[in-house]
Amino acid sequence: MWKWLHPYANPETTYHLSDRVIPWFGWLSGSLLTIGLVWALLFAPADYQQGDSFRIFYLHVPAASLSMGIYLGMAIAALCGMVWQLKLSDAAVAALAPVGAVFTAIALFTGAAWGKPMWGTWWVWDARLTSELVLLFLYLGVIAINNAFEDKQMAGKAASIIALVGVINLPIIKYSVEWWNTLHQGATVSKLGKPAMSLEMFWPFVVCFLGFAFFVATVTCIRFKTEILLRNSSRPWVKNLMLEQAE
């Protein structure tokens, strides 16, 4: 595996690889999202209890699970950067953090928009909502520390440390928030408890989820390319590339 991965430690190779995969990811994401969202919003059956407002589920759940998945991916990249001193890992952390933050914000916003008609309130201090909010804070911390350093390499290392500290803390925060909630509210039935889903509702969800996942991949690859260029701006291959594109 190392032999196969080895060339991709070179920024130039990785730059061209991401350049090649972007159109594939982009088209996949575009077509899956079109099919999935049309299917989900127009043709999937309405929920027998929540009616049509349940359809925001098809945005909310992919955004929420991707927000956590992106954090995990970012932490894995940070770990690889710390262990093997890969400079590209820092670029990956910097590329992923804003994407994850936006998805967390989307999850929070769609959650609030869903909560208003269903629970009659924009926000409750439910355990899941609170830990999602804390996740947003952790993302913002990584972004802030990444922007604070002048030197890109120092910034990347600092952001990696914070991402790793965050990923160790995330489960602790999640369980402590759950515990806090049950202590303060007594045994209320979880309002977010998912009803068992019928298959006609499930398949459009899968398509939407994959569409959003490929969307994340596309955006991340574009940002990753930019980060690579920023970090290697003094290298001859970047200069040649820019000259080629200018012509």
Binding site: M82, V134, F137, L138, L140, G141, V142, A144, I145, A148, F149, D151, M154, K157, A158, I161, I162, L164, V165, G166, I168, N169, I172, I173, S176, V177, W179, W180, L183
Partner: protein, 230 residues
Amino acid sequence: MEQGNVLSYFNLFKLVLSRDLKIALRHRDDVLNPLLFFIIIITLFPLGIGPEPQTLAKIAPGIIWVSALLATLLSLDRMFKSDYQDGALEQLLLSPYPSFIWVLAKVIAHWILTGIPLIIIAPVLAAMLNLPAESFLATFWTLLLGTPVLSFIGAIGAALTVGLKKGGVLLSLIILPLYIPVLIFATSAIDAASYGLPYGGQLAIIGALLVGALTLTPFAITSALKVSTN
């Protein structure tokens, strides 16, 4: 204490600890200001919320702990600052001794200078906030076990931001979310104690957080210091 050029780990620990304490005691303001900050914040809450004893007693654990978090945060900035500026930090990093030992000593020195004063003054403030007498012991225990965790986690942020000109706000942004578990378990322990319920479970979890922080954070602090000193 020193034999030739070799220090035992214990002597190294003692040396760094006593050095940091000595330096801090010669700048008394650095020790007193966070404490004053703690007292003033706690004074502001009754003024903002109203003086009803029941209301105050209900929110007292939260007020005490949130103020403790903020006071610790305020004092974190100076943990590595002067050593960074005069080059002592680089010398320590270059020294042949494991960084775990002297990082531990520095963080514990910080806790002695900020955590212990908070623990000493807390009963007075708890009484002013009408906290029931049953909760006093719980307040003491949570502060005793919890404030070192704050110092350890905060030291990571302090180490990362030590080289930055405007590190203060950034420090609070990255560190405060990590303080949430301590806050939750500490306040719920004090709450439980005020109803006469056992609070050993919460204390055990804070203790576990302390042990985890004690063993893991020095590594993160060291790598953060290496980033900052480049």
